[in-house]
């Protein structure tokens, strides 16, 4: 349920994945007692020992910009080579949670998806497909039409796979943060060589932000998890995000931050231009950087603190920034004024 009051702070009692209650209290205590960011950083420093990841930020002020060139530059900066892509089956997973005619700020823009298709094609991908299991609407046709994605996919000559109604396999839960011993993963996802998360940069009224990691909710079949992905929300949003991303690691994330969403995201918020694309191999590092670009505190996002050290780095010193600087694209995103997002409000330390 995008929309149920199951926004939990993790207490870690069910698994070793999330910070324990003692750790969380320690973190909160450090902040409350004046340790502030310094206290938070030392906690993450310990958990991210040895982790480094590179995140590229590219400028694109509008959707008529040469997005493909930005992505090519990003691939170069990240060390992605044609030899690495050649012959691979690439699954591009945009965010198409729900559509409304004329509201293009809800979902990943078709031009970003089309540019990703062409970039992977130029790098020699063997097969490229676009796949999504929309969180709210079962009617894929309507979603594709209203988002403008159908025309873009036809022009790009790539198929769309409806993951909500795909065949699926039952696989062990690689995370263990939720009580689920297994997860049902669509066959199309399981047989992809690279799963690429292509989210929109948005605020989220329960999770704080939704970018590369939360976008992966959309691979989970609605026939199993419901619409909205009810069972996952019931099990806990941060916990589910950790489990899905641990079970199905993304090879790359490309975040559409050209026009994102602020306020009551992920569907009812307002357009917010940030004029950028973020690209990186590690989804946790990408999302932490997104939070910084959005002027929000990554250490206040429960799923990011849970991911820190387990799924990647979120501390700025462990993220190698390339391309544009965070400060050059930073745009303060408003978030809804609710107590459970108080920790998300406000910046972490900036590197710019």
């Amino acid at each position: 349920m995008n929309d149920e009051p199951q926004v939990r702070t993790s207490d870690g009692s069910r698994s070793g994945w999330l910070p324990s209650r003692r750790e969380v209290l320690g973190l909160g205590g450090a902040l409350a007692l004046g340790g502030g960011i310094a206290g938070a950083l030392s906690w993450h420093q310990r958990h991210e020992s040895g982790l480094r990841s590179r995140v590229f930020i590219g400028r694109a002020d509008h959707y008529e910009a040469d997005i493909e060139s930005v992505l090519s530059e990003a691939f170069g900066a990240l060390g992605i080579t044609a030899a690495e892509i050649k012959g691979k089956r690439i699954l591009l997973k945009p965010n198409l949670v729900e559509t409304a005619r004329g509201a293009l700020h809800i979902n990943t823009h078709p031009r970003v998806v089309a540019a990703a298709v062409e970039t992977f094609r130029r790098f020699g991908a063997g097969e490229i497909l676009v796949a999504e299991g929309q969180g709210h609407r079962r009617d894929s046709w309507l979603v594709l039409e209203e988002s403008g994605m159908d025309g873009a996919l036809a022009d790009a000559r790539v198929p769309f796979v409806d993951l909500n109604h795909d065949g699926f396999g039952v696989v062990p839960n690689g995370g263990g943060a939720t009580p689920f011993a297994t997860l049902c993963i669509p066959d199309t996802v399981r047989t992809a060589d690279w799963v690429v998360s292509l989210p929109k940069m948005k605020t989220h009224h329960w999770a704080g932000i939704t970018c590369a990691m939360k976008n992966m909710f959309g691979i989970m079949p609605g026939t199993v998890y419901g619409w909205p992905k009810n069972l996952l929300h019931w099990a806990g949003i941060p916990e589910s995000i950790v489990d899905i991303n641990k079970t199905v690691p993304t090879a790359l994330s490309i975040v559409d931050g050209i026009v994102g969403m602020e306020g009551d995201g992920p569907i009812m918020g307002s357009p917010k231009a940030a004029g950028c694309l973020l690209v990186g191999r590690n989804a946790a590092a990408i999302d932490a950087t997104c939070a910084r670009v959005m002027g929000l505190n990554p250490y206040g996002v429960s799923y990011l603190t849970a991911a820190s050290g387990r799924l990647g780095p979120i501390h700025e010193e462990n993220i190698v920034q390339c391309g544009a600087t965070i400060s050059s694209v930073r745009a303060q995103f408003d978030i809804v004024d609710v107590p459970h997002l108080e920790s998300v409000r406000g910046r972490s330390s900036g590197n710019a």
Binding site: E4, R137, R138, L142, D166, T223, Y225, G226, N230, L231
Partner: protein, 297 residues
Amino acid sequence: MPDAWRDKLIDRIANTAATTGAWGYRLGSGESAEATALAVLALSACGRHESLRLNGLKWLATIQGDDGGVPIGSTVPGPCWSTGLAVLAWGDRDDDLSAGFDTNVSAATSWLLSTRGSPIAHDARLFGHDTMLRGWSWVPDTHSWVEPTSYAILALRDVDRASHPHVREGVRLLLDRALPEGGWNYGNTRVLDNVLRPFPATSGIALTALAGEPHSELIDRGIGYLQETLPRVRSPLSVSWGLIGLTAWGARPAEGGAWLAESAARSLHRPANVVYDAMLLLAGAETNRLSHRSNRG
């Protein structure tokens, strides 16, 4: 049925049946109880392919659990939100093929009456709907939503359990989940400060399930939403459920047949989707097991 698109969709459904008797959502996507039930209902509404219908009904029986629930497919024991659709497929009193499935219908009915969605503590700051009302959920022990609640109501009404307290509460839940400006989405009305958007398909499903209930302003708004929205919608799922919902309330627009033909023509240029094809056939049939039984309420 003079339209050529119907025959083409019927053929396509027939050609996508698995040797097990089941249908998947699309070729190669695995067996699906929902796709199978809707394919059987569509072929029945068209009076075609008796043997395929019987195979489909038998396959649904093979996957039914000991508790009566019908899981979404043969490879997992649940969730069983497809049980209501199976009841509709098995229980077609106008179809001689259904005679052998009384036990299955009975067990499935018991499952539906013993299974309900979970309430959650109501917090008016967060949600606009009455979170304590119980209907049916997609997954056991989670919240109730519009679509599974509608399927359960349709099935239980079909077996003459419309007055059961669970059905009555389910009806109240659907009315409570109606959006103030008309229509339904998956089942949230307001979250925090924003009223959410309606969807055509779920609006049609809810209106179909509510057929036979007293007319109300909420119903009129739902009808009005579909009448305003459907003229610019041609996706099979939305236009079909939308028309079935309007038909259930005697509000089917004269252009409905043309919309279906246009949607079918587009659908036939794409890879087969059994649910889409079946829904187009059901929406185009003189009578169907969805709106027909609802009207008898």
